[in-house]
């Protein structure tokens, strides 16, 4: 099964490489003109790499968040992480406008990590009646962070710009501007290394302590991986809603909650899902593009809708 997914992913990656306004057919691959080669190295390859990395990364950290909070409805979208990262970028623009992308990312990382810690603290403090309640609090929490950002954005008249960052869009992924996305790799490795421990954490605090696990440090490592991935994707491509929610849910429905076993599938499914959405967005209104945020928002929203009806039954 995993083999099939890998082949599908490769196929989609090839399709993604050859889809775009500038016609390049597969038969020409060995006799590319200089111009075509340039398009490949500047735009097509970075874009495809970013899609795969972001898709896999966000899905994996979504799964980790769901394990840590023991709630299937938690994800970067429903825990305020996206809003926190946005707030980080806003403040980096206001405070250190001249610095490079890396510093903005660090800013976003700090904010996202802080927000994740706060959210975790809230989740542990409250004993909610229904599992659906935690994501509701998360979204409210995101709304508050958004309100604080808007307060400053409105003052500096950049509300429209702020909306712009929030919309995930891969068309601006170009060589020289996208390399920060490779910071997802350490987060993915970290997640894989700690996979077994995250599985145990998913069984609850007292259970993991009984098994001799340092609960708090594993949770913090998980949150760090989540924050790193979320802030990196926000800075390089923008927010992609629902991705971290539906892919892990699908994966866990099919393959169960043993992370060591399920993580590769989650990563593959995430990359496949994101690649297909992006290719679809590029083809539908060719030669224009539908931003990935919108595509995933619509498709993901509909899938999530059915997940709720199924999961809560």
């Amino acid at each position: 099964m995993r083999f099939l997914f890998v082949i599908l992913l490769l196929l989609l990656a090839i399709v993604s490489l050859f889809t775009g306004v500038k016609e390049i057919s597969i038969s020409e691959i060995f006799r590319l003109s200089d111009e075509q080669l340039l398009i490949f190295t500047i735009s097509r390859i970075p874009r495809t790499a970013t899609l795969i990395l972001a898709g896999a990364g966000i899905s994996i950290v979504g799964f980790i968040m769901q394990q840590i909070t023991q709630n299937k409805f938690v994800s970067p979208t429903t825990a305020g992480s996206l809003e926190a990262a946005k707030m980080g970028i806003l403040f980096s623009l206001l405070l250190i406008p001249q610095e490079s992308l890396i510093y903005k990312m660090l800013f976003a990382l700090c904010f996202t990590f802080g927000a994740s810690l706060l959210f975790m603290y809230m989740v542990r403090r409250i004993r909610a009646r229904s599992t659906v309640f935690i994501p509701l609090i998360g979204i409210m929490f995101g709304g508050i962070l958004g309100a604080i950002s808007t307060f400053f954005a409105y003052k500096h008249n950049i509300v429209q710009n702020v909306q712009g960052w929030l919309m995930g869009d891969f068309s601006a992924v170009l060589q020289g501007q996208y390399e920060t996305i490779y910071f997802i790799l350490p987060a993915v490795l970290l997640s894989y290394y700690y996979a077994d421990r995250f599985t145990i954490v998913g069984m609850g605090e007292s259970f993991s302590k009984n098994l001799g696990l340092s609960y708090l440090s594993v949770v913090n490592i998980g949150l760090f991986a989540v924050s790193l991935t979320v802030s990196v994707t926000i800075v390089t491509v923008g927010a992609i809603p629902f991705l971290g929610l539906i892919v892990p849910n699908l994966a866990s429905m099919i393959y169960g909650d043993n992370l060591r076993k399920t993580l590769p599938y989650t990563a593959l499914l995430g990359a496949i899902f994101l690649l297909s959405c992006d290719i679809l967005g590029r083809i539908l209104i060719y030669p224009y593009e539908i931003p990935i945020g919108l595509m995933v928002g619509i498709i993901g929203g509909i899938v999530f809708f059915f997940l709720i009806l199924k999961r809560t039954r």
């Binding site: 979204i139 508050i144 309100a147 307060f151 509300v159 929203g301 809708f305």
Partner: protein, 316 residues
Amino acid sequence: MKQHTRIVLIGTLLVALVILFLGYDMGRNIDYVLPRRATRLATILVVGVSVAYSSIIFQTITNNKILTPAIMGYESIFILFQTIIVYIYGDKTFQVITQTDNFFYAVMLMLLFSWLMYKLIFGRGKQNMYHLLLIGLILGTLFQTLSQFMQIIIDPNEFSIIEGYMFVSFNKMNNDLLLLASVVLIGTLLWGQRYIKFLDVIALGREHAINLGLDYNRLIKRYMLIISLLVSVSTALVGPVTFLGILVTNLTYELIPTSRHRIMVWVCGLIACVALLAGQFLVEHLFNFSTTVSIVINFVGGLYFIFLILKSRKRI
């Protein structure tokens, strides 16, 4: 301090704020300033009472203290509607569609939306409030994504028209609209008054309410209707105030601990008016209109919300 004294104090505070709001720094053009301030004051009172009323009902029937009806997607559908209009007509928006038409369509759309949501969840016989909430939230996120997409590609000058709708403002009031909205809101409030006393029983929980002989499903339908009317009209009138509901209801529970909803809704209305008036006063005289009242209220309300969650030890 007795409850009674506190209520009187809140009332006095409101009256003092009203006088301050109307009379502060009037200058010599009383004929010009006073009617405009009075219109704003009237809008604030109408909006404050409806937000308070709908939030209290909503929190009682969903049995928690940190949600408001606003999260069910009303606000995002309102913003989406305004974005689509501006997206299509651009800077000719104001010529093509009058403020009254806009108001009317927006209210219709939000009512239709809540009816659809209601049918979707309650239509199949199985009732679960939390499903309703979560699905409202998802649709809200979906509408938000769509609006964001359009807002990015809109010309920045035209975006400023949308910005006018995104943030509550009491500065551009239209007297006809205000009258229309007030009639609807006051009508709803008076009609809803008959059902307020049942909330005391509903607060005990669904099973208890049914055991005590209430027609639970029918009542919930009534309450949902009241909530959707109040929220749609007040949102279409001034725009979204997401966190006002949380702020004022929780202040009410804190200051006037009572389980009698008849008292609770009106006290909450008073507090909402105080909050809005104070916010608007600050925006006008301290911030010199560099921010809007909804941003201030969301800011304060949001911080209060985090504080509430952190200090709560009970189940919420």
